[in-house]
């Protein structure tokens, strides 16, 4: 039996599943190939923010794309929840960035002003002092100078998001195969032949969404994806009564009641070990923001690797030499899920990335 598909998607993380879901919803026959249980998965370490504020202050196309996805999120979530019957725990009434000192506060204000000016007023935010921020975040520590609030932001359970995309993908007759590692990609001009350690699969189009794996996969279809791992560590407390209405980039309360505290930014290669000195710093910062957190127990910690490009922004590319091959790398898999399942999937199906995605090509790093 020849295993032939319209699309083969390499990588079953948030990006692969978002696009797989989007394409399968259009009636395309899709296969997602995913690696082994023990491989490094960025999707399982996601903090769960749907985040707009501050993103793309120096890259307007990214700010637009992020805002677009944020706008799509509410309908996208409803559709996913209806279809999968999984409660994603979404809250999209706004989010907070806390500033612990003058300098952080001023940088923040500068960044958001810049963003607002690019967005012609479409992006809204407020800078708040400690007193006003305390109204949004009761129990705020006195050391906090203030912070920013934006109504575009929110959060969602990233694990259930993956699960609901997975389940929706299967309902749309998608095929998911795990424990498969791609070893070779051949192209005949009109179709792709994907060789794994176990089997061989065929498709007319190919999408590479393998996170850090894209680095070695992309050259097989004449593309380049210069991504590297950036480690982030997260702490999770026991379940508490619902307390935090809004998420912030350092802490958020999940739908089950745990407080998630993160996240570090460590450029140390493919290492996912827990560094006690860094999680201790995360804990210190969390106490400054919410002093009453100090008596709460940490039930677990984890670290994951972000898929980071040289400028930190996503890379969207399609191959000139291997028509029908696309490669996508980014670290905001939750925020961009709605845009990936909707706009991006349609572009891919039309065979051409939209104009707004042209600035995201890897070629931006090759300009000397």
């Amino acid at each position: 039996m020849i295993k032939s598909y319209d699309y083969i998607i390499v990588g079953g993380g948030l990006i692969g599943f978002s696009i797989g879901y989007g394409l399968s919803r259009l009636g395309r026959k899709c296969l997602i190939l995913d690696a082994h249980n023990n491989s490094i998965k960025a999707a399982r370490g996601n903090f769960g923010l749907i985040w707009v504020q501050g993103k793309g202050a120096d890259f307007p196309s990214y700010a637009d794309w992020t805002l677009r996805s944020s706008e799509l999120w509410t309908d996208f979530c409803k559709e996913l929840e209806d279809e999968s019957k999984i409660n994603l725990g979404i809250q999209k009434d706004g989010g907070i960035e806390v500033c612990l000192n003058e300098e952080e506060y001023n940088d923040r204000k500068h960044k958001l002003d810049l963003l607002r000016s690019h967005q012609n007023g479409k992006f809204e935010y407020q800078m708040l002092d400690n007193k006003d921020l305390s109204k949004l975040m009761p129990g705020l520590g006195s050391e906090v100078i203030g912070g920013s609030f934006s109504s575009h932001d929110g959060h969602v359970n990233p694990l259930y998001l993956t699960k609901s995309l997975h389940s929706g993908f299967l309902k749309n007759n998608g095929t998911f195969i795990y424990d498969e590692e791609v070893s070779e990609i051949e192209s005949s001009g009109t179709s792709f032949s994907i060789k794994t350690k176990i089997d061989r699969y065929y498709s007319s189009k190919l999408i590479l969404s393998a996170g850090l794996g894209n680095k070695h996969l992309a050259p097989m279809v004449g593309l380049e994806q210069s991504v590297k791992p950036i480690k982030g560590q997260i702490l999770v407390t026991q379940k508490l009564d619902k307390h935090l209405k809004y998420p912030s980039t350092l802490l958020r309360q999940t739908q089950e009641g745990s407080i998630m505290i993160g996240d570090s930014y460590e450029d140390i290669g493919e290492n996912i070990s827990t560094d006690p000195k860094i999680i201790s710093k995360i804990a210190k910062r969390a106490i400054k923001i919410l002093p009453k957190l100090e008596s709460k127990q940490i039930v677990r910690s984890w670290s994951a690797l972000r898929v980071m490009s040289p400028d930190g922004y996503p890379i969207y590319d399609q191959s000139e030499t291997h028509p029908g091959a696309f490669a996508i790398s980014c670290h905001s898999g939750v925020t961009l899920a709605a845009a990936h399942a909707n706009d991006l999937s349609k572009y891919i199906d039309d065979g051409r990335l939209g104009n707004e995605l042209i600035p995201f090509s890897q070629s931006r790093f090759n300009v000397s």
């Binding site: 998965k41 006690p276 106490i287």
Partner: protein, 465 residues
């Protein structure tokens, strides 16, 4: 960081005591860290309070711990009690919690002696208050002379028979013992019986317990279809007897047991290599003959390495300490010969017991789809199976899809069940399925405790000790 001690021994049960005493006698600088307030571990629990020997019902073997305890205490080995280790880092630093503070300390060698705990037995109704493990019953008896009358013991294995024996000797009324051991295992265990005869005294002792139990309480053998009754708390248990008749027993105290498994949360979170043991139906850290793990300088001794019982734990501690002593040029390998012979003797009983009481997965996977598997997050069997149906690549993805193993106990109670369900549904071997990726902190610490983290040095001693 500087090495402050030659060896840090984690745990002060039989293996920990024996490792530290041997190392101390070789002239090594030893620190023993233990969670409990007193040395002894689970086997010699509360030995310090039972020195007067008026708890004869606990048996002679328990009272042997008295001698070890006294040697340990009089040695003056540095011993931090009520201190838990929550991480061993990549650089082999030990992170601990004590007195509401956390610290990091380094030594030349680390010996993990975390002991064992009981495998879960998720039968219908096992989450009802009143249902406890057999080890829990024994802990209450050893520590506080506390027990429950009209209780029912369910399961099989040496710890169950010993505890029932101790219960009866102490004067508690045991309503029934529901023995789940299988007759066919008796045949399979015959080849292992002969080497086990070297420990004839222990075999004889086991037979004596069983004889005593049969004489003093009702024993039902080869029971099946166990179901604990009750809505808010345990009210009784319903079973099918070997003659296919069903029986209902009223009781509010039910003790479950299906053998013990190594406490591998710390060894796994440390990144030590493990392998699956089908014999003991659990994961074992992969160790060299002298107990060294896949990480140079980190050793595992006692039941934490593989279930072997108290005597094997004591000897394995000596072997580990002698090996470290040799590396630090404090001893020669010759002195080990006698210990090795002793170790072979102590290990020769276990294979027989492993086969005789080999786990029946019926008692690890609930037959009722609505029964809770993960107690912490209230995840039942059908939720786990539904996640498997989506196509999952292992325990980590399963955890992320249904929360099994995500709670306080970090999968200690549901891990083997989840692993077994995946293996059954995906038709895979248990070692292929793998286990949860465990992460520090392996013991809960508060945000404040974590924020206080400091490198330990001798002059800062006062702060944390």
């Amino acid at each position: 960081m500087k090495d402050i001690f030659d060896i840090i021994v984690i745990g002060s049960g039989p293996a920990g005591i024996s490792t530290s005493l041997t190392a101390y006698e070789l002239g090594l600088n030893v620190l023993v860290i233990d969670e409990q307030s007193q040395v002894g571990g689970q086997i010699y629990k509360s030995i310090a309070e039972n020195l007067d020997g008026n708890k004869g019902f606990l048996g002679k073997d328990y009272l042997k711990g008295k001698h070890l305890y006294e040697r340990f205490i009089s040695s003056g080995i540095e011993h931090w009690s009520e201190t838990s280790v929550w991480q061993i880092t990549e650089n082999k630093e030990v992170c601990f919690k004590r007195n509401g503070l956390t610290g990091i300390i380094k030594s030349k060698f680390i010996v993990i002696c975390g002991g064992a705990y009981e495998r879960a037995m998720p039968i219908t109704g096992w989450t009802l208050p009143g249902v406890m493990s057999v080890g829990a019953a024994q802990t209450l008896l050893k520590s506080f002379s506390v027990g429950a009358d009209n209780c029912v013991f369910v399961g099989c294995g040496p710890l169950l028979y010993l505890t029932v024996y101790q219960y009866l000797k102490a004067g508690f009324k045991v309503k029934a013992v529901l023995d789940t051991s299988r007759l066919k295992q008796l045949y399979f265990s015959i080849p292992y019986f002969f080497p086990a005869l070297i420990n004839f005294n222990l075999l004889w002792q086991g037979l004596r317990w069983i004889k005593y139990i049969s004489k003093h309480t009702k024993v039902y053998k080869r029971v099946k279809n166990l179901s604990i009754l009750g809505k808010e708390k345990a009210q009784g248990i319903e079973i099918t007897l070997s003659n296919e008749e069903s029986l209902k027993i009223d009781t509010q105290n039910i003790f479950l047991h299906q053998g013990i498994i190594p406490n591998t949360n710390l060894t796994m979170a440390t990144g030590i290599k493990h392998h699956w043991s089908q014999f003991q139906y659990c994961w074992h850290p992969t160790l060299s003959l002298t107990g060294e793990s896949s990480i140079n300088g980190i050793y595992v001794a006692g039941d934490n390495g593989a279930i072997g019982g108290v005597n094997a734990s004591l000897t394995s501690g000596r072997i580990v300490a002698l090996d470290i002593g040799k590396k630090l040029k404090k001893t020669t390998s010759f002195s080990k010969l006698f210990v090795w012979l002793q170790f072979l003797k102590d290990k020769s009983l276990q294979p027989f017991l492993d086969i005789l009481f080999q786990l029946d997965t019926k008692f690890l996977v609930p037959n009722n789809n609505n029964e809770i598997v993960c107690r912490c997050e209230n995840v039942n069997k059908s939720e786990i199976e539904n996640s498997i149906k989506l196509g999952i690549s292992g325990l980590n993805q399963l955890k992320s899809y249904c929360r099994a193993g995500m709670g306080n106990c970090q999968g200690r109670l549901c891990g083997l069940t989840v692993q077994t369900i995946i293996a059954l549904r995906q038709n895979k071997n248990l070692d292929e399925v793998g286990y949860f990726r465990l992460r520090p902190p392996t013991k809960p610490i508060t945000i404040k405790e974590l924020s206080s983290l400091e490198e330990y040095s001798m002059d800062k001693k006062q702060n944390i000790l």
